[in-house]
């Protein structure tokens, strides 16, 4: 006779005691995005940091404009501009220590450049000559990641590995609002929280995943709220306020470095330009909305703060703009040179130990290139022969 069949013998009792493992209250984000510029909190910020952020913001804006111009000239296959989001980009780069790692998405070229990457090397993916034009270990910047949110578990794994090795390293991973819908976002946050990995996730909520607005992306009160379910703190910050992003990220990184685990930071910002040059943003948003955000421009916010406090004058602004122009001119000039490509590189980095099949294909391409070269030599010889003919015969 089973328990169920013993009529009257089984007396239901309440289930064994259950307690939530963490009080969700301290994990919840504030109701409003954290702001520093234009508030009393700004007084606490080191003026040198503000000036540095300002210079990087101006350079970043110029960089975005230059890269966008390069797409129009056909020098870049595509450029996803971060104009309007420069505060997130430069704060993410400047808040990290040298030993820390940055995991950017495809829109975060600017963060990589602000971290010290050569602007030309940072653009190779978008130019189309190489997938990643830099050694990720050199500046501790992972390759720009095109599949959405897939770089987030990498950041978790790297941070976890660093801690296993006893290294004091934090990983900062960038993702967009659309990316938070991906499974990899969920898995990365879950792993990070379970492992208490020293990693910080920065969601740049710029309002749209190409054309799909946030309201169609999530029903969560905010993207920062998602943190609570994983058991990590969520922070909400004004993504156009570089000082605020720097401060919130700085606290999250200190938290992670102290062994207290990951944080999810949502920076509320806005993408001022189309998704890429291939997108028509007039189809999915009103000019009025864009204009409202233009009035909350990250550079203007910082400029206002600095001039109000007497930390920046006309000369200072001119110097920063001249620096930015010089960077743009250098970028323009170097990007207008055709990259030197070796077709044999196609096979150079598929395997450490190339397969016999790839060696055969490599030999095939080598033969094709040699034949091409012989053909060109013949043509040249032919042209040379003609040029040496007596003038009379060619008329």
């Amino acid at each position: 006779m089973t328990v169920m069949e013993q009529r009257g013998a089984y007396r239901p009792t309440p289930p064994p005691a259950w307690q939530p493992r963490t009080d969700p209250a301290p994990l919840l984000p504030d109701a409003l995005p954290h702001r520093v510029l234009g508030t009393r909190a700004a007084d606490r910020v080191d003026p040198d940091l503000l000036r540095r952020l300002y210079a990087e913001l101006v350079k970043g804006r110029r960089y975005n404009a230059q890269a966008t111009a390069l797409t129009k000239q056909g020098r870049l296959a595509v450029y996803p501009s971060s104009t309007g989001q420069e505060a997130c980009e430069v704060a993410a780069a400047l808040v990290l220590e040298e030993r820390d790692w940055l995991f950017p998405s495809y829109r975060d070229t600017l963060a990589a450049v602000a971290r010290g990457l050569d602007p030309v090397q940072a653009l190779t993916l978008l130019r189309g000559d190489r997938h990643t034009g830099y050694d990720p270990h050199e500046h501790r910047v992972a390759p720009l990641c095109t599949p959405l949110a897939t770089q987030l578990p990498h950041a978790v794994g790297l941070a976890h590995a660093a801690r296993l090795k006893g290294d004091d390293v934090v990983a900062l991973a960038l993702v967009g609002d659309g990316g938070t819908s991906e499974g990899d976002f969920h898995e990365a946050l879950n792993f990070a929280a379970v492992w208490q990995a020293p990693v910080v996730f920065l969601v740049q909520n710029n309002g749209f995943a190409i054309s799909v607005p946030l309201a169609k992306q999530t029903a969560a009160p905010s993207l920062a709220h998602k943190a609570v379910g994983y058991g990590m703190p969520g922070r909400l910050v004004d993504g156009n306020d570089a000082a605020a992003v720097h401060e919130v990220l700085g606290e999250a990184i200190a938290h992670a470095r102290a062994g207290l685990g990951p944080t999810l930071v949502e920076a509320v910002t806005y993408r001022m330009e189309a998704h890429t040059n291939a997108d028509d943003d007039k189809r999915y948003r009103e000019d009025a909305e864009v204009e409202a955000w233009r009035a909350h421009d990250p550079i203007a916010l910082m400029e206002h703060e600095l001039t109000e406090r007497g930390l920046l004058d006309e000369d200072g602004m001119r110097a920063v703009r001249e620096d930015a122009e010089a960077m743009a001119a250098d970028l323009r000039e170097r990007m207008n040179q055709d990259p030197a490509l070796d077709p044999m590189d196609l096979f150079a980095h598929v395997y450490a130990r190339p397969t016999p099949q790839l060696r055969e294909q490599e030999a095939q391409l080598r033969a094709e290139l040699d034949a091409e070269a012989r053909h060109h030599d013949d043509e040249d010889a032919h042209a040379d022969a003609h040029s040496h003919e007596p003038e009379g015969n060619t008329r």
Binding site: H131, P136, G183
Partner: protein
């Protein structure tokens, strides 16, 4: 001459021994996956490792294949050598994006600056009475992805030797473990494991003169059995165990078919778009003038893996292999 004590061992034990030896030799080797710790894996391959090496090196992860492989990518970026267990073939599919977009491509994307030396262990194939989603032969998906090595042992010695090589390889390796051979036993000395033919080399498991059976993994013992049975028909079949699907050992395979003049490719994954089509094409390209008959394939049917009570009708068995051998146009010779 010293005699080495040779006792029977199972493939699962040999795989476990390979993991243990790799972890002992190289402190950067980490084992991770669902249930690999206290339980020792659902097939007990990782039995005892957590106790010996601790949870930091033998890690029970959350149940999330993309997360398991994705975090392993990050660990490899930082200089570790993760060995990831995907509990069953069909459970690995959520991790495909990580495998294809990152594991297979990271070396190429970074022009050699960021290789990912990691091993993905995937128990695969049917024949153990598993229910839905526990018996897929997923090798064609992996084979179609440049940047990955794809390896599958059929013997206890190979299970040990190939896994050691996979872990030591600076390229990512998808290591396909034939589930139904986990408990197969060979005379193999676990106290003195030997190196085997390296990754990328096929071996002739049984020499023969009449025709070549080209096979791998779970179908190797079936082909050996078929070769034994074929003797009654007067056929002397050679059995080539590929061991590695990527890279593919064209030399050993073509040399065998040139000797025998006839070939049948045998595997249990579906035939259409399956490994057999590629193998048959490669053999035909290299051995056309030596062939007495078209290269035939004996594969699983082109159906979703059937329920366990019907799987014996799906899996290529001895009779189906012998039927194919019988179709090799023997009359043309007479």
């Amino acid at each position: 001459m010293t005699t080495v004590a040779v006792k029977p061992a199972t493939m699962a034990q040999a795989l476990g021994r390979a993991l243990r030896d790799a972890m002992t030799d190289d402190p950067t080797v980490h084992v991770m996956g669902e249930d690999v710790g206290a339980l020792g894996g659902v097939f007990r391959v990782t039995d005892g490792l957590a106790k010996e090496f601790g949870e930091d090196r033998v890690t029970d992860t959350p149940l999330a294949e993309a997360g398991i492989l994705g975090t392993a990518v990050g660990m490899a970026m930082y200089g570790l050598r993760p060995v990831v267990e995907m509990q069953f073939d069909a459970f690995a599919y959520p991790a495909f994006e990580q495998l294809i977009s990152h594991v297979a491509k990271m070396r190429n994307r970074t022009r050699g600056a960021m290789p990912l030396p990691l091993t993905v262990r995937v128990p695969y194939g049917g024949g153990i009475g598993g229910v839905e989603h526990h018996s897929d032969s997923s090798e064609a998906y992996y084979m179609a992805t440049p940047g990955l090595h794809v390896v599958t042992p059929a013997t206890v010695a190979d299970a040990y030797g190939l896994l050691r090589e996979a872990i030591a390889s600076d390229d990512p390796v998808v290591f396909l473990e034939p589930k139904r051979l986990y408990w197969s036993k060979d005379a193999w000395n676990p106290d003195e494991p030997r190196a085997v033919e390296p990754i990328g080399r096929a071996v002739v498991r049984r020499p023969g003169r009449s025709a070549t059976l080209i096979t791998y993994g779970p179908s190797v013992p079936v082909c050996l059995e078929a070769a034994d049975a074929a003797r009654a028909e007067g056929w002397d079949l050679e059995v080539v165990d590929l061991r590695s699907l990527v890279p593919f050992d064209d030399e050993t395979v073509a040399a065998s078919v040139r000797r025998t003049g006839r070939a049948v490719v045998v595997h249990e994954s579906g035939g259409y778009g399956g490994p057999g089509g590629e193998i048959a094409a490669r053999v035909t390209e290299r051995c056309f003038h030596h062939l007495e008959a078209p290269v035939l394939r004996v594969a699983g049917f082109d159906i979703p893996y059937p329920p366990p009570m019907l799987e014996r009708h799906h899996l290529p068995g001895v009779d189906r292999i012998l039927d194919a051998v019988a179709r090799l146009q023997w009359e043309a010779q007479s």
